[in-house]
Symmetry: C5
């Protein structure tokens, strides 16, 4: 996963939206209007302004996709600050909270891991205004369907909780999505550990590296997320009700737990890396031992048989290789070599090499 | 030990208890009612509400096991917050304290290490209410038997200390269980050190890795535990009496000591890892030296004997291997080879290889 | 890139400017006078004093180059503190803000990376006075052209924002220049990762080292930059208007994001270093395996053929190498060697070496 | 040195003293009563209560040894809190200060290093009460003899300083004992560095590991010691006079200096570890080079001489090894081999292997 | 450089000066009396008391050398606290500031690096009293000559700045001496980097280790130095005038810059260490490849030529090595060997070993 991608040239005016946005699938704005009395929903066409807010009715505008002009238009209609719109569109921001007088701007990251264990990151922006919540994400997905479902069913506090509670529910959903990812990472770590303890492969090395990088990306996102949630909990903004704060503590707890797990996994990856390196060294030691044992046994033997392969002329002198003519010469050489092998094997055994 | 296991789908309503709980042994609720005057105890059937609290009498409900419905029912009867119940049932929380108006919710981890040095972790939840303590753990065990025994004997402050002191006694018991685990880890570290200093094995490598992981798990639990106990000590809740606070300082001290030992052990494991790696390198060096010495001595000798094994026709020319016909040819070659070996041995000795 | 270069002898009086400055290209002072009504600009000759400030007109003096005397003269004319001038001229300062009564002194670093991925650093000093901004950098460049362009066009808040907003715009431009550099570093990291995962080369090693050093230099600059911007945002100086502070939060956010990316990249480089080392070890393992397999197969075979190359006199004794005279002798030896090879290959296969 | 040893079963009542104490040499309680007017001293028998305190006379009870019952008895007579007594007897506490209303309880560690460089640790407990100091250590030793000597001589402030100053003198003595230990560690580090730079041995590896562990133990003790002394300096207890506080700053400075040296040594040990590892790698490189040079020179030569040792029947065909019958055949082969060796030596020289 | 050397026995009375001081060159006390009106200077004999201070005249006593008795005598005459004198004489203190009612005691370290790149450290103590500054260093040197020169010339603020400004000037001089040392370290790092990237040698390894140690020593001194200077800047002592504080910020900035450079260099050394290790591994890989290529090519060839060096009696059976009698036998064997070599070379080329 690429950590960062530059979006606009240095020196441009603040609040400048990117001119040539990335080509993306069409943007959908789903509008939900609900209160204790009922709920109505539908897609908001690109050129229609959202309906004005009313007491006891909450507007939820769920923007899916990145049509820059449409978002800019919507932002103007809702009277959202230029710098906020810039951050909504220029994805890749750190999770943060910005507390304006009449609105709260929140950025989070939604993570998902597919079947090939590739980590995907999506920026989710939430703008809370009185009686209205705007959520924006990079592409169309079913991310907020459970919240929509709870709104439709009208169970629990959700219909009566106002904009603050809805924002909490959205954030809770995003934070909860961390756990299936961490669960998957945990599985991968267990598989890796088993594989490395048994027999380290080249794939393990690449997998270790990818996990390290993914956990790094997760940590860089969850660390500010936790702080952001705590700040939101302590924020004195009237947009978050007192009851909602209790629930925010719960989601902040979840973020802290996720961070804890991430840190633990990071140390495990580091420990697995040590294990991998020592496994490789161990294997090299074994390979070297085999080579050394074979070479140490056979090189001296080869010398001996080479010795008696020399062609000194035994007729020219009684000192020239008389062994070749002895009666027991050959068996004696065989015996000597057998003793050499036995001695070396004993030596290796004593050093616990075999 | 698996660090984390996901428990429910993202986006569900807060306070949702898991629908399909893990199959576990039956849940037992042990009720103890005591005061300065006496003590009565017994198992509370699943469908019976706990008796109301009375001044000067403390109710202790000790829940062993994880029957979700039974715990939910009990929680309702005791008027415990939905989010608290969720944390009691969804084990794997971080040690923490949550200070509600009329109750304190505490989560700790109980650790044990069996004979195979496998670390086991169990979440212990404690809910303190006026005149009543609810303790919940994952399975039936004798963990709190010493406290029960002290209650039965009625010695010391325990019968007159109220709910706060009982909660302290339970926490103290859980924290004290850290030390036998650390003791065992210390033994394992000593064995490992001895083994690695003498001769590192493949098992040492795996054991090092497991200890590293276990200490990581312990640290991730004891770090928040220490903070939690300090917060509890400083908490202004009227549920903890002033005298109990002095004892809380003692148990917080114990947690700090445990954390200290864990950190020390973690650095020792890291040092042992270095030692292991350098031991392996040392061994490889030794193996390589043996190979090099043997090869360096015998390869040149083999060349010499190979040289005089060539079949040049000495009759075709007086320059063709006349050495083969010399009178002292064979002894001279033997002497030359002896000198070569001596020279190499001297060289190796000087470089301190042998 | 050299991290630090000493500029003057120890013990000299404070505020001493370097006597023999580095030879540099001529210094240009570009003067821009603007207000809501209009803008005029031109180069200020070396011996002419800048015009006095007026209400509703802002003077921007953009000094490009390092002619020490000229800068000293200009500093005197503008009544800038001796210690500030020393820091403007002795480049290599840490990013910092110094809050004087009637002026603010700011130091930042401008980074650029050329096509050969060589990181270049330039100190940018900004002195904010009432109605006047002095910016000084080490050499002539188009760094501030976008700001000049926006001033000329007069769009947005820039003409009416006063000295504080201009200083913000300059700082924003410098900070924004971090991102193309980080983008390039990200590209290099991706290339490196691919190369190392496939086949580590000697160049990768040098590149890793250079990236590590560059990121170190970046971090050492961006870390104090972020703090400096936060301090500036919180500063109570009347030179920065309230509206400008909102924009300062934005640029401080950018600096924090840059720092985040730098930290992430640093950990990635460290992870790539691990990957590199384990890749080398892996390759050495493979090389050793090839050597061991070849040697283990052929060294025993060589012994066997050497054995039957011995010249024992089979006529001197029936025990002297009777095999040589057997009818099936040669085929039998070939068969024995074939069996040896098969056995070894089977052994290697079982150990998963081949 | 074992870092930690468990002392009592989990779940026992707070303040429980260990039932089966470690068998130790007899406990001696040395009583010193002194004031500006004079001094009297003697051993206090086990069954005699210490004399009551008087204004202008300070009682110092110096307990050497660990007779649990005797200490418990003494504690009761002096009205010392149960939890304090537990910490006095259960040695292995972290250095700490506990500030009670009418007494201060201090725990420190006394370190010593014997001639075999084995680090020994002893817990020293000090209880300060009005007009009385109780010091307790694990065994009989001359640790506090210099203080006793100064009391007997009556020089300096010591006789008139009261209980607070005496406690300071005892702590100062214990802290000062850190420095001979650090001095010895410094000597060992210098020896190690020299040995590793010259030629790393297996003993160096073990010594490095032991030093790392000892410095870890020292750090874990001196870190809380420094904080404890600072807290004591800032404590508002009336038991420490204002003048004594100035001296406490001095001893706190010493503890900070010791911690500094320990941290420096720890980094040196880590640096020596790196040096050791790279030394081993260097040596392996050298060994491999020798092997490679020998093998690369002689293996091709052996092939050549083996080639002309083949027995092809030169009579069967003019193509079968006609070289064997050439007039200059043997000298030509010798020349070829000489050229091969020269070429290889040149190649090795160019690669700077020899 | 030895980090620490013990100076006195544990348990001695506070303020005890060392009895047998190290033998050193004679101590010189240089007295400078100056004010706005003039300056007089001269060496103060050992047995003469310094002249009393006067308004508008500042006394500077510059003690060079370590004659303990002379310093003790001087300290008594100047009414300096016993503990301060102890720290002046027992060099090896951490940089620190101690704020007494009527005086300020400052300790710094002066560093120098000679031509052999050996780092030398000298403690500089400064005692500021009303109208008087005492500076003490370990040996005679020209360290403070630039300050003396500025006093003699009387330029700038120095003659009228009083004791506080003089102390600042001395500290500034000592801090400025850090930069030539860091400059030299930077040169050495650049040389090392070049050498390691090209070809790592044994000297590089030792040099890396020494640099790591020197930077450690520097950091351990500059870290408290920076804090000390900040504390001094914030100190409310009337001995430091308000104008002097502005200059103190400058020197504190320099110390912070020095610390920054030191930290950067430390990370560079660590990065060079990684580079060194991977360079060694790379070289070993290359050596192993050469060995493997040679062995893999020639060992099979040697087997083939050995095969046809066997002496099976071709007359005893038509199956006994009939190849030896074939017409094209020898050329065929040569061809087979050529093919083997080609195949292996192709294999190595494909694996990119050659």
């Amino acid at each position: 996963m690429r950590v960062f991608k530059q979006t606009h040239a240095p020196g441009t005016s603040p609040g400048t939206l990117p001119e040539r946005p990335r080509p993306i699938e069409p943007t959908v704005v789903h509008l939900v209007r609900y209160g204790l009395d009922g709920i109505e929903e539908g897609d908001l066409p690109a050129d229609v302004a959202p309906p004005p807010t009313r007491a006891s009715v909450t507007n939820w505008l769920d923007v899916q996709g990145h049509n820059v002009e449409q978002i800019a238009e919507l932002g103007n209609q809702l009277d959202i600050h230029k710098l906020v719109l810039e951050d909504v569109v220029n994805v890749g921001q750190r999770p943060k909270i910005e507390d304006y007088d009449d609105s709260i701007f929140i950025v989070l990251d939604h993570f998902a891991m597919d079947d090939d264990s590739i980590l995907a990151k999506e920026q989710v922006s939430i703008v809370i205004q009185r009686g209205s919540v705007l959520s924006a994400r990079e592409r169309q997905s079913g991310l907020f369907d459970p919240v929509l479902q709870r709104l439709r069913l009208g169970k629990g506090r959700i219909r009566g909780g106002g904009a603050g509670y809805l924002a909490y529910a959205l954030m809770d959903t995003v934070v909860d999505h961390l756990f299936p990812v961490l669960d998957r990472v945990g599985d991968l770590l267990e598989e890796l550990e088993e594989s490395i303890l048994e027999e380290p492969t080249k794939d393990d090395r690449a997998m270790l590296h990818h996990l390290k990088r993914d956990l790094l990306v997760l940590r860089k996102s969850v660390w500010p997320l936790r702080d952001m949630l705590r700040n939101l909990m302590l924020s004195e903004s009237s947009l978050m009700g007192d009851e909602t704060r209790t629930y925010l503590r719960d989601v902040a707890d979840h973020a802290a737990l996720a961070l804890d797990i991430i840190e633990t996994y990071r140390e495990m990856v580091s420990s697995l890396n040590d294990l991998y390196l020592s496994s490789i060294s161990n294997r090299m030691n074994e390979v070297m031992k085999v080579l050394t044992i074979i070479a140490t046994i056979f090189i001296p033997l080869s010398f001996v048989v080479g010795l008696y392969g020399m062609n000194f002329d035994s007729q020219a002198s009684p000192w020239n290789m008389p062994e070749l003519g002895w009666y027991w010469g050959y068996p004696a050489v065989l015996l000597v070599m057998l003793l050499m092998v036995s001695g070396l094997l004993y030596y290796f055994r004593r050093r616990r090499w075999i």
